[in-house]
């Protein structure tokens, strides 16, 4: 029978409601428990409720790790608030643990006094042993100090789904919906979007939809009748204040896919994606292969090399070649990137960074491919590199990558990471007609043509594609003569071509926004410089430090190569420069090398994003040093 225990006295009956600014909740369970689905459904309902939010899905590399083990635990954290949410939150206010392993892995992050909901039905001797518990933590007092709600969710789910004639295994799979129902009740979320989603998802098996909905409703009803630990209220988080507009949730991978399509529409050329499956980039391939009606051709290649080579071939033919990958795939594509640099073809390479080296931590986030992107090729092989700050920024920068690639005839690397790829945030939907337009002009005039004829402003070469009469030409990996585009082994010519390729990329700096200081004064004691997905945590850390009276400013870099042309000057206005990165110090090296700036690194290489508190205390420590 369902039971409720707590370390404090109990309150019966309807709970009071309380309004608060923000809540962080983490769902954790076995990889087979459906925690990611629970999280995304909760996210959807929360967005529709009008809160701002940020999410952090955290799951193992194994698809179905052995049940009940700690390495098979999958989690999903969301912060939602009435204010501008920048991160999924440092520590959860509430933790849902669907089994002992999930409790074992995640309890350390729950502050004392936090709400802890556990599925007591999964706390069997076998599961306890697998999680390394000698005694049952629900019963041995070790959870004293948390607001514990212990419910046999398995049993309650079986009871709720009993009328629908499912097998026990199928019925138990509904327990994530029961849990979601309870969470919906606790945080006053509407169930309708989930119900609609289940009806659609299981249209062919209505009994499964019915059972899931019954479980969802049962969990919600349980909330109505529950005895909860004292001091607890049903929490109401008022709507956030957004800029007016139409909103939806989006993840970084979805936004990247859409940005690439939008960019190609802006350029007026078709897109050809060459890709090879790799975590955490595969979703972009999935999204784009479902969007064929946009004229997108997707090609799942035999390997990473073929993926980029096919994209290069497509660019040679007048499409925009795009390839999407992650660190190990980037390494394999390196030689082909050199070919795209020397043949000066437009190409967009999206690297969803993950933990490395080698296979590393496939499902965990990291920003350790920056140096690989900027300089990681044989010879002097410059190209443009952009880095997205948020899931929504992936859309903006994907368009920008297409613009730069086609205008300057160069490969562009767009860096995102696992955290951005899978994390969701509300995104203000743009009007397609308001997106930037940058139509490509393919060369058709024969007079004076040679393939390496350059635009004097951009230094981009003429793009003449097969099928164009009178512009027959050959390109390739061998060095070209500056004046004719023919093969040339001439020493002075190679020097000139190397300098020209470098000048072309450097010149992009004239065509991108100046670096701004986002938060704080334009000069002073200390500047925190971030890039990529650490944007939210770093900004919040700086804001918190400033609220406590510390003199610190924040600049976030999105253009990694070339850097904004005033970046060195911005850096020079501060005495100390702190560069937090989820790697062993890469941007910090570039800043020191480029500007002789006294930049110091702050590194976290745990596969987990920075916490706001970590940034804040490092700022204090650095200022006091």
């Amino acid at each position: 029978m369902d039971h409720v225990e707590s370390t404090t006295s109990k309150v019966t009956g309807k709970l009071p409601t309380e309004e608060i600014d923000s809540v962080v909740i983490r769902f954790a369970g076995d990889s087979g428990d459906g925690m990611q689905l629970t999280g995304t459904q909760f996210t959807q309902a929360t967005a529709l409720q009008g809160n701002d939010l940020a999410t952090f899905p955290d799951f193992p590399a194994e698809i179905r790790a052995p049940a009940g083990t700690t390495f098979g635990v999958s989690a999903f954290q969301i912060q939602f608030a009435s204010f501008d949410v920048l991160t999924p939150g440092d520590a959860p206010d509430a933790l849902v643990a669907m089994n002992p392993a999930a409790l074992r892995v995640h309890l350390k992050d729950l502050p004392r006094g936090g709400l802890l909901i556990v599925n007591s039905g999964a706390f069997t001797p076998g599961n306890l042993k697998k999680a390394g518990y000698e005694t049952n933590p629900i019963e041995d007092g070790s959870l004293d100090g948390y607001r514990l709600v212990s419910v046999d969710i398995s049993k309650a789910t079986l009871a709720a789904t009993q009328p629908f004639g499912l097998s026990q295994k199928e019925a138990l799979r509904c327990k994530n919906m029961w849990t979601l129902g309870l969470a919906f009740w606790l945080y006053d979320r509407d169930r309708q979007s989930t119900i609609d989603g289940l009806r659609k998802q299981f249209a062919k098996r209505p009994e499964i939809a019915d059972a899931n909905i019954a479980a969802l409703n049962a969990g919600h009803a349980y909330g109505e009748t529950i005895e909860l630990p004292s001091g607890m209220s049903r929490l109401i988080v008022p709507k956030a204040k957004y800029e007016p507009g139409l909103y939806r949730n989006t993840t970084g991978n979805e936004a990247t896919a859409w940005g690439l399509i939008a960019g190609c529409q802006s350029a007026g050329i078709p897109m050809m994606l060459g890709s090879y499956p790799i975590t955490p980039a595969s979703d972009i391939l999935h999204y784009l292969s479902a969007l064929k009606h946009f004229g997108v051709v997707t090609f799942q290649a035999e390997d990473e090399i073929a993926a980029i080579c096919a994209a290069i071939g497509a660019s040679f033919s007048g499409s925009l070649g795009v390839t999407t990958t992650s660190g190990p795939g980037m390494a394999l594509k390196t030689e082909a990137m050199g070919l795209a640099v020397v043949t000066e073809l437009p190409l967009v390479i999206v690297d969803i960074q993950r933990g490395g080296p080698s296979t590393g931590l496939p499902t965990k986030t990291e920003q350790s491919d920056l140096l690989q992107a900027v300089v990681g090729r044989n010879a002097d092989t410059p190209l443009a590199v952009l880095a997205a700050a948020t899931p929504g920024d992936c859309f903006t920068l994907a368009i920008e990558a297409v613009r730069i690639a086609t205008k300057y005839m160069t490969p562009v690397i767009l860096l995102t990471d696992g955290y951005l790829a899978n994390g969701a945030e509300p995104w203000r939907i743009p009007e397609a007609s308001a997106l930037p337009k940058f139509p490509v002009h393919l060369r058709t005039e024969a007079a004076g043509f040679h393939p390496f004829l350059r635009d004097p402003d951009t230094l981009g070469r003429a793009w003449a594609v097969p099928g164009t009469p009178e512009l027959l030409h050959r390109i390739g990996g061998l060095e070209k003569d500056y004046d004719s585009g023919n093969i040339s082994y001439d020493a002075a010519n190679h020097h000139k071509m190397t300098k020209t390729r470098a000048a072309k990329i450097a010149g992009i700096a004239r065509d991108i926004p100046l670096q701004t200081v986002h938060e704080g004064e334009d000069s002073g004691d200390m500047l925190v410089v971030s890039w990529g997905s650490t944007y939210g945590a770093v900004l919040q850390g700086v804001r918190n430090a400033r609220r406590r009276g510390l003199k610190v400013s924040h600049a976030h870099v999105r253009y990694m190569s070339p850097f904004p042309r005033n970046l060195g000057e911005v850096l020079s206005r501060f005495k100390k420069i702190l560069v937090p990165e989820m790697n062993n110090g890469q941007l910090v090296k570039l800043l020191r090398a480029e500007y002789l700036a006294p930049a110091e690194g702050f590194n976290k290489i745990s596969g987990q994003p920075f916490r706001v508190s970590e940034i804040e205390s490092k700022i204090r420590e650095t200022l006091e040093a």
Binding site: G245, F299, A301, A310
Partner: protein, 340 residues
């Protein structure tokens, strides 16, 4: 204006670049044969693209006055796949070699053939790495002495045609660089006319690092007895006197050479070539002189829908079903909410 209506000649396909192969190289003969047959195809030069990887063979595109892309080692089939996918109207040729196509690029070649991308693939097989000055290749023979095998090759060679057939290629043919007047041009024509991935192996003599590699079936005194020219629907007869034939060994899936006239054997007993018979193509592809003649001509031809056609059919069908993609609709699909 397109060149479609203009009659082109061999010279129109000769680029202004100086050819830099070694004097006496078999590649000259191949280039001449290609330039000779190109005008027959009535394909405007601007719709023709030659793609290559790295190696002696891969200099080919520079010498053709068409569009061309000299890519990186082994990757020509992948680049060519992208070119063809982006513009299926183009006539796309791949020039590759035994090192480029079968060693570093074996994976790409296999998959281009398997997918049946409409590419005309010419594999120049000289059984040696020429451009790196003489190391052994995946088709070098056991015992062959090269710069990197001074005591002889100890790894077993592969058969390019068997590889292609195993990759499910729908067109596999073979010729020799010395057959310049008729056979090589004919094979180039067949290679071009086949819709889908066509694979033509050309035995090509490297007179600097592996001279005479094919003499054992090319030399005048042995050629007729060691070369079998396959023709669809014709009996497999060969020999200086046209008095030898191939037939199945009774009761076995194995070929044997028979002497016509001996023991009452007549041409009627000899196997008739069937280009659409895959097991037969495999058997023919494995024949090695001196025991057997080398099989030349079209070993296998069995067209199937091409990859790029199916890709674009799917794009078009999706457009027809869902309408042309509309970003505003895409962004607004699913759950949205309005603020302010």
């Amino acid at each position: 204006m397109s060149e479609q209506l203009v009659t082109l000649s061999r010279k129109d396909f000769v680029s202004d670049q100086e050819v830099r192969w070694c004097p006496g190289c078999g590649d000259y003969a191949i280039l001449a044969a290609v330039q000779k047959v190109m005008p027959e195809f009535q394909v405007p030069r601007e719709k023709t693209v030659f793609v290559s990887g790295i190696g002696c063979s891969s200099r080919f595109p520079y010498y053709m006055n068409t569009y061309g892309f000299h890519t990186i080692h082994g990757r020509a089939p992948a680049v060519a796949t992208g070119i063809k996918l982006a513009n299926p109207e183009l006539d796309v040729w791949v020039a590759t070699g035994d090192g480029d196509g079968l060693s570093i690029g074996g994976n790409h070649l296999m998959h281009a053939l398997r997918r049946n991308v409409d590419l005309k693939i010419l594999l120049f097989n000289n059984r040696i790495y020429g451009l790196t000055k003489g190391q052994y290749s995946p088709t070098s023979v056991l015992g062959q002495k090269t710069k990197s095998t001074p005591f002889g090759v100890v790894d077993h060679p592969m058969s390019p045609v068997a590889f292609a057939l195993g990759a499910n290629a729908r067109f596999v043919a073979r010729t020799i660089d010395v057959l310049t007047t008729k056979h090589m041009p004919d094979m180039l024509r067949r290679t071009h006319d086949h819709k889908g991935a066509s694979f033509l192996e050309i035995f090509q003599n490297c007179n600097v690092f592996n001279d005479g590699a094919f003499d054992y079936f090319v030399e005048k005194d042995v050629a007729a007895d060691r070369q079998l020219f396959l023709e669809h629907g014709k009996p497999m007869v060969f020999g200086a006197k046209r008095d030898k034939g191939l037939r199945l060994k009774p009761g076995k899936l194995e070929l044997e050479v028979v002497q016509l006239g001996d023991n009452g054997v007549t041409e009627a007993d000899v196997l008739v070539h069937d280009e659409t018979n895959l097991p037969l193509a495999f058997l023919l592809g494995q024949l090695e002189p001196p025991e057997f003649p080398i099989a030349l001509g079209v070993l296998y031809c069995n067209p199937a829908p091409t990859y790029e056609r199916m890709v674009h059919d799917q794009v078009n069908a999706t457009r027809e079903k869902l309408g042309a993609g509309d970003l505003d609709k895409l962004f607004r699909a699913g759950n949205t909410w309005k603020v302010g």
